[in-house]
Symmetry: C2
């Protein structure tokens, strides 16, 4: 079954972007292998979402790797002593400085595991939902970073060195606005109520005021829609 | 205490090479932060050795990170269904092909964690004991790989982007033969009986016939010495 399909490893956090990327990889005809991480994040709602998304979008396999980035400290996403910032609207989010929710070297670590799995699968395709437009100031979401990673990866692996399997890191969202991402996902049948993006959920529900909630909410608003993760508290707007 | 020393993250497997590197970093005046991994390897003797080495060489901190590369399969070092190759002498080891003991993307994964810790510590120095001469055919031990990694890392991090902290990956052994590495370590006071390099230990002792045992044994022999990890069974040669 699916034996002649090309395999791809897709980094899947369970959020809006990576879910859209999984739908795109599937639409492009890949047999998808979804990869998530339990990395010391303060909440696990996104892993529950990732499992739901992987099943709904027909991933051939979904692996959750345990790594503990919290052992190093330094980010509000993994360190309980640092507070996640909250704002009233997305316009208040500074993109000039790197936010406290940045996890040191996170995409570098995640891509390294994707590379290991791709090599084992005999796959030359890794998908990641980074975005250079509303990337919230994370350095490891920029195109020049991805290009440098790809170059390094092709020197790192057995297959790359033997020239048999040139690794490509696919970043289908890199030039899209949040609204364009959502539109693409909706065209491909994504139901965004499966997803979870909030940095700081309250009783398992999106807080609506962290940077991640505000950016996705604004994306839906630009399409005249309400973010389904807010819908039960915003039903008047539907 | 040590407040004005520059900090370095040193990848420490507990083997001969990484132990020598830790001694070199210390000799160069760094406050050393030793990083080891429990990565699904078939035996844990090397982690016991790493702990001993970190203490003996005065590391400020030693962290062992749990990651499970075995979930992806594909290497004799993490997969019980694949056999570690054994030979009678180091001359029989092929360097033309990449051996089955290669773990997919291992150094890429390890360096990524080192990068995360370095960023959190405010360190711009990572040490790794790769070697381009008797590197046993691993692609991620070559200088061009290390250079590409360094370039990528400087695009990945907050400090790299802000230009405050340019990451340097130090590879003090890259041009050394095994014998030269051992000589350097001995000059710096390393006792190699602390270390463990064997891929396939029997009852916690070096097998003397895997590639790793044979390469280090030949290094000691070139200096007219007996590898202390073999000494109890080779005492006639001391």
């Amino acid at each position: 079954m699916n034996g002649d399909k090309r395999k791809a490893v897709v980094l899947l956090s369970g959020g809006l972007d990576s879910t859209t990327v999984l739908a795109i990889a599937r639409h492009e005809g890949y047999e998808t292998h979804a990869l998530s991480f339990r990395y010391g994040q303060r909440h696990t709602e996104e892993l529950v979402a990732a499992e739901k998304v992987a099943a709904a979008l027909g991933a051939a396999r979904h692996v959750v790797v345990d790594i503990n980035l919290a052992v190093f400290g330094g980010s509000a996403l993994t360190d309980d002593t640092l507070a996640v910032p909250h704002h009233d609207s997305a316009d208040q989010i500074s993109t000039d400085e790197i936010p406290i929710t940045y996890v040191p070297a996170r995409n570098t670590v995640f891509l390294s595991f994707a590379l290991a799995w791709a090599e084992t699968l005999g796959s030359s395709d890794v998908f990641i939902g980074v975005n250079a437009l509303d990337y919230s100031g994370y350095p490891d979401c920029r195109p020049e970073y991805i290009e440098a990673y790809e170059r390094m990866a092709n020197l790192a692996t057995k297959a790359g060195v033997e020239g048999k399997q040139r690794l490509k890191i696919h970043t289908p969202l890199i030039e899209l606005t949040k609204a364009q991402t959502i539109q693409r996902g909706l065209e491909l049948g994504v139901d965004y109520s499966w997803t979870h993006s909030c940095y700081d959920p309250v009783d398992g529900r999106a807080c609506q005021t962290c940077d991640s909630c505000l950016l996705r909410s604004r994306g839906f608003a630009e399409l005249g829609l309400v973010d389904p993760s807010f819908s039960s508290t915003s039903s008047a707007n539907i």
